[in-house]
């Protein structure tokens, strides 16, 4: 692990005086390696390592008894600070609050939509969420959402024959008339380079004026996470991300990449296939995981 590696690097530094350029560069190479192996994007890593170098040199941080541990501390705290965001909660207030889930194919949107409905009910026991099956492309998508919705004790609005825009517009009117809140919209998986589908998402957002547009991102995503994040944010505008499948052993570097390139928060974490497997995102936990 990284702490051990740093102990190795710094074991010739007897903790007195400043660290040297030489063992600092060795330590930074270890950080570089750890972050890349954790799937953090190459350019994001470069930036982090540069900033860490400046910080370490400027701070005489290693004039301590255990420089290796100190160095890990430095990186760890720095990354936790990066991952933390002042506004990382999911907004549920509105009449109704519309929350749109978007993302690449198979990232976990449909499952997460149902989980989010259940989560909303736990946060505000008096609210009645409505799920909207706006994925008209994938075979049995509406059925999947409906079944998951039942597990959360939440109703699903579906309408086989119409366009996503019509479905969601009708659903919001229905929600308003029957006092449902929030309205959670499940959309079809799409590639960020598909102009037609990105345009569809954009027009969905502009006509619904949603409280939240959340990118559902698979925790095992590699270097391409930055492309996805940038494109979804640039073309549509997103308020945050939900990182899924964190119950596996992917290091989750995509979370750091996402945060670094969009500046938006990761709000929630999917940690399993069951309806309750949704948690508030924990910056410290993901950093420990990324640093290995």
């Amino acid at each position: 692990n990284l702490t051990k590696k740093f102990q190795e690097v710094f074991k010739n530094v007897r903790g007195m005086g400043k660290l040297t350029e030489k063992n600092l560069s060795r330590a930074l190479r270890e950080v570089n390696l750890a972050l890349l192996e954790a799937d953090v994007n190459y350019r994001v890593v470069k930036k982090i390592v540069e900033e860490t170098k400046e910080q370490a040199l400027g701070r005489k941080v290693l004039a301590s008894v255990n420089p290796g541990q100190q160095f890990v501390r430095l990186i760890h705290d720095r990354l936790v600070e990066t991952m933390t965001h002042p506004d990382a909660g999911v907004k549920l207030d509105g009449s109704p609050a519309v929350i749109i889930l978007a993302g690449l194919q198979g990232s976990g949107k449909t499952t997460t939509a149902a989980k989010l409905a259940g989560w909303a009910r736990r946060q505000r026991p008096d609210c009645r969420p409505l799920l909207v099956a706006a994925d008209v492309r994938r075979p049995a998508a509406a059925g999947q959402l409906k079944t998951m919705g039942e597990k959360a004790g939440v109703e699903t609005y579906a309408d086989g024959g119409n366009s996503p825009l019509t479905i969601v517009t009708d659903a919001v009117n229905y929600a308003r008339s029957k006092d449902f809140n929030p309205v959670i919209v499940d959309t079809a998986g799409r590639l960020h380079i598909d102009p037609e589908l990105m345009e569809e998402l954009k027009s969905l957002k502009s006509s619904l004026n949603p409280r939240e547009v959340l990118l559902v991102l698979d925790a095992m995503t590699g270097q391409d996470a930055v492309r996805t994040a940038v494109e979804f944010d640039r073309r549509v505008g997103i308020d945050g991300a939900i990182l899924t499948k964190l119950d596996g052993d992917a290091r989750g570097g995509a979370a750091l990449s996402f945060r670094a390139v969009t500046g938006k928060p990761v709000k929630l974490a999917g940690v399993g296939e069951r309806i309750d497997d949704l948690q508030v995102f924990d910056p410290a936990r993901i950093v420990s995981r990324i640093l290995g």
């Binding site: 192996e37 198979g106 049995a140 590699g222």
Partner: protein, 278 residues
């Protein structure tokens, strides 16, 4: 020996970066760059020729090994099992493979062995209906191994050429789910010792280094004859398959390039390498 103008440390670092950015992985990227650098210095090539060296080295890594293309023809039905983590594209790949075989005049039967996830059976059922292909399924909660067993008997008695088995997505870290997978493979082996004849790992092209861990676990659990690399129509390049090939010896058999039943192609190493390098 004097280095050429294009071959500075920054130049080689640029190549390493390019490889890392397509998910080749740090270790592989460094090793490959070292290898090419050594060749470049030995052969005294300039910057433009380096690209060709990388291309050649990458192609070498993806070529089939001697004795790998054995074409023993088992008693029909030839059984293909599709495995992999959640959302990687298995069900759609099962449909695409069915279509691929169907176009070659083969009679295919699909088995819905995901008896767990919401609407999994309906999803495969819609594909089966679209393709005019039979599907064997039971109800949710049924034992996946029992469904596989039944599907084999049905495929056998109906004279099918191929049986394609869709399984539930599972994270390789869930040992109980990996045990279930072994059970499915054992059930097939009981009815026909050589089955399953093909076990394909469905990998999402966006997956990073975790793809190698996935491959290792699935290989250990049920053996893998190949990889289906899905969603290659996106921007991710799936470089992790190099490590899967290099370290585990598993070749890519097919690539998924879209959401339709025709969006499957046989793996073309040259095209794959070109995409990686661009």
């Amino acid at each position: 020996f004097k280095k050429g103008p294009g071959l500075s440390p920054e130049f080689w670092e640029g190549w390493e970066a390019a490889l890392i950015e397509v998910d080749v992985g740090v270790r592989q990227a460094v090793e490959l760059t070292e290898r090419v650098k050594a060749r470049a210095e030995e052969e005294r090539v300039d910057a433009t020729a380096v690209s060709e060296l990388f291309r050649a080295e990458l192609l070498k890594m993806l070529q089939p090994l001697p004795g790998e293309e054995t074409s023993e023809t088992p008693v029909p039905p030839i059984v293909t099992m599709i495995v992999g983590v959640n959302g990687s594209g298995k069900t759609t790949a099962a449909a695409k493979l069915a279509r691929y075989r169907q176009k070659r005049g083969e009679k295919v039967i699909l088995a819905a062995c995901d008896t767990f996830r919401a609407a999994a059976i309906e999803q495969l059922g819609i594909w089966a209906e679209r393709l005019g292909v039979e599907m064997v399924s039971q109800k949710y909660g049924a034992d996946a191994a029992a469904v596989a067993f039944d599907a084999y008997s049905a495929a056998r008695s109906r004279g099918a050429d191929r049986l394609i088995i869709d399984t539930a997505g599972r994270l390789h870290t869930r040992s109980n789910l990996m045990e279930e997978l072994k059970k499915i493979a054992r059930a097939l082996g009981k009815t026909e010792p050589s089955a399953p004849h093909e076990v394909l790992l469905s990998l999402d092209a966006v997956v990073g280094q975790n793809g190698l861990l996935q491959a290792r676990s699935f290989l250990e659990a049920v053996g893998l004859t190949g990889v289906i690399l899905n969603k290659l129509d996106g921007t991710a390049r799936g470089g992790i398959v190099l490590a899967v090939r290099e370290e585990l010896g598993i070749p890519v058999r097919f690539v998924g390039i879209g959401e339709g039943s025709d969006d499957l192609a046989e793996f073309d190493p040259a095209a794959f390498v070109d995409a990686l390098l661009n």
